[in-house]
């Protein structure tokens, strides 16, 4: 399942954010520090995750450890879905 999540997240990022950056982004790279995602982008990513996976991202889950790289999003989402 993690692989499917990773692909979906990667696709969303490529389609919505990558035109902002020059290079592709590695799975463990910070999306903020590489300029791929800005603060509005974080909100777009959250809306996408909530819609696509039917989850609610709690205020205290909006942290870089959960959302600031493809790896982190995959890990966070896998745990969230497993707990659901």
């Amino acid at each position: 399942m993690a692989e499917a999540i990773e692909n979906t997240v990667r696709e969303f990022i490529a389609e919505n954010f990558l035109f902002r950056a020059d290079a592709a982004v590695a799975n463990n790279q910070s999306l903020l520090e590489t300029g791929v995602m800005d603060s509005t982008g974080v909100l777009e990513l959250i809306a996408f995750l909530e819609q696509t996976y039917g989850i609610t991202v709690a205020d205290n889950e909006i942290v870089p450890e959960n959302l600031d790289s493809i790896d982190n999003v995959t890990r966070y989402l896998s745990a969230k879905l497993a707990a659901a």
Binding site: E15, N16, F19, R20, D22, L32, E33, T34, G35, M37, D38, S39, T40, G41, V42, D59, N60, I62, V63, P64, L67, D68
Partner: protein, 517 residues
């Protein structure tokens, strides 16, 4: 007094005190002073001359602060640019400013080189954060300049009418305008701010606002003037982290804009009074919705909330004393100390209370003009006895006690996320997309952004562009805050007899203006 003299002064008084904390870097006043001296000496060795313009394209970090002071100490003018700037726009600014140097970080280097290749300007390139193995070519390493010992003392500069800042803002023509601010302008504005906020050496200000805009830059200058500590963060993308950081550094001051207030007030699990050290919050750049104000006052009962208004052309114009906020939650207050701000009518005479007119700002903080445009060619400016008079182009009204209320822009400039955006600049990006026949950009009222940008487009026959495709195209050409939030497809954009595109019925904001296509 020139601004770098204020740093020398604070270094003498508060040498071992922390001036700046950014990421893992912490600089005392003595270190900030010494390192910016070395940077200045390095810039001079590299060929930067007094009066030159130096562009900076940097995220919030110690490099940005060192660059301001280093460039000032070299007698040159920093021209801070938003780091997400696109090559084409940067090329225009390189040409118009004839910058002798650009200070940037490794991530933006390619953009700078692309921009320079579009022009005849060949600036010295100084790159921060380049990896150890990275080929540096002709570029100088920022870290090397800051580490190299200076040959001798820098010459003392005294001209406070010299340009301290060249800040680019949207012009009504769609081309960016360079707002020129002298050392005297910046000092006057920032001294007024320090006095009404009551800043002292005990203050710790946490700033997430970009150091490429006036509101962010005033945080740097006011903290140096007061001898306080500036803590820099790059963005408010993860609000919870910033709230934790505010507690960790025991911040006493927190400047924000309404979209940040929206995120904070939207959090459900915050305990009131969780930041007991926070002495004040400031808000500028757009009107604060009263519901946010109320929630902020619940969450931060011991914190003073200052609602303020300014323009790049004078940095700061008005503030509302916190004790007035419950009586006048929609007001941005009155003129900052040592200046005037009042509403005029169509004839240029002071307007009576309640009458809507243009806001005029007078004082020593008002800019001498736009770059490349002499004072005489700027209609909005006039010299007065103490400083200058600026016609802001913003419509206001005053109440019986002289407190001011923002109504709207007089021209078609959109104010979104606190930034001015020229519809023409957005429209130029739209017209560059094959398939779009006609386009107009406008602002629609938005509780968080002030206004949100909406594109109205007519497609060519057979074109199948989607909203997302259009937004994505714009995001590739415009800084993020200029990108339309929504797209509305139309069969036609109705024109008036004079050829103006007119969008009427159904829109929150009526848009009527020249189509520049």
């Amino acid at each position: 007094m020139r601004i770098e003299a204020r740093l020398r002064d604070s270094a003498r008084r508060f040498g071992e005190k922390t001036a700046l904390a950014a990421g893992a870097v912490r600089l005392t006043y003595a270190e900030l002073d010494a390192q910016s001296d070395r940077l200045a000496a390095g810039l001079i060795r590299a060929g930067v001359r007094p009066g030159d313009r130096v562009l900076t394209v940097l995220d919030n970090g110690h490099e940005a602060v060192l660059s301001f002071f280093g460039v000032w100490k070299a007698g040159a003018t920093p021209c801070p640019l938003y780091p997400a700037i696109k090559a084409e726009k940067l090329a225009g600014i390189l040409e118009s400013t004839e910058a002798s140097a650009v200070i940037t970080q490794a991530r933006q280097r390619a953009t700078i080189e692309t921009a320079a290749s579009l022009t005849k300007v060949r600036p010295i390139l100084i790159v921060a954060q380049a990896g150890p193995g990275e080929e540096n070519g002709d570029a100088l390493r920022f870290e090397t300049l800051v580490a190299q010992k200076a040959q001798g003392p820098l010459s003392e500069l005294t001209n406070d009418e010299a340009l301290a800042l060249l800040i680019h803002t949207s012009g009504s023509t769609g081309r960016p305008k360079g707002v020129m601010l002298t050392h005297a302008n910046v000092s006057a504005a920032c001294e007024a701010v320090v006095s009404y906020l009551g800043n002292t050496a005990d203050d710790v200000v946490l700033n997430v606002l970009p150091l490429s805009f006036g509101y962010g830059i005033t945080q740097v200058v006011t903290m140096v003037m007061a001898g306080g500590t500036l803590v820099l963060e790059r963005s408010f993308a993860f609000p919870r982290k910033i709230l934790e950081r505010l507690a960790e550094v025991r911040a006493t001051g927190f400047p924000l804009v309404p979209p940040m207030a929206a995120l904070i007030t939207g959090m459900k699990d915050l305990e009131p009074d969780f930041l007991p050290h926070l002495r004040y919050i400031t808000s500028a750049a757009a009107a604060m919705p009263p519901a946010f104000t109320e929630r902020l006052r619940q969450l931060f009962p011991a914190t003073q909330l200052f609602l303020m208004y300014g323009q790049t052309e004078c940095l700061r114009a008005t503030y509302l004393p916190p004790e007035e906020i419950s009586r006048r939650p929609l007001s941005v207050g009155r003129a900052i100390p040592g200046t005037k701000a009042f509403v005029i009518d169509e004839d240029g005479l002071p307007a009576p209370p309640g009458t809507i007119g243009e806001l005029v700002v007078e004082g020593p903080h008002v800019m001498p003009g736009y770059w490349g445009n002499g004072l005489t060619s700027v209609q909005a400016l006039a010299p007065i006895a103490d400083g200058r008079r600026l016609n802001t182009g913003d419509l206001f009204r005053a109440d019986e006690d002289g407190f001011l209320y923002f109504i709207s822009r007089r021209d078609d400039i959109i104010k979104t996320r606190g930034e001015k955006v020229s519809p023409q600049e957005v429209e130029r990006a739209l017209y560059a997309l094959p398939g779009i026949r006609e386009a107009v950009a406008g602002g629609v009222d938005d509780p968080v952004f002030g206004q949100a940008i909406r594109a109205y487009v007519v497609l060519e026959d057979g074109a199948t562009l989607t909203e997302r495709e259009i937004i994505r195209h714009c995001a590739g050409r415009l800084e993020d805050y200029m990108v339309p939030k929504s797209v509305e497809f139309r069969d036609t954009l109705p024109r008036t007899t004079t050829g103006k595109i007119r969008l009427g019925a159904g829109e929150t904001n009526e848009i009527e203006r020249e189509n520049v296509a």
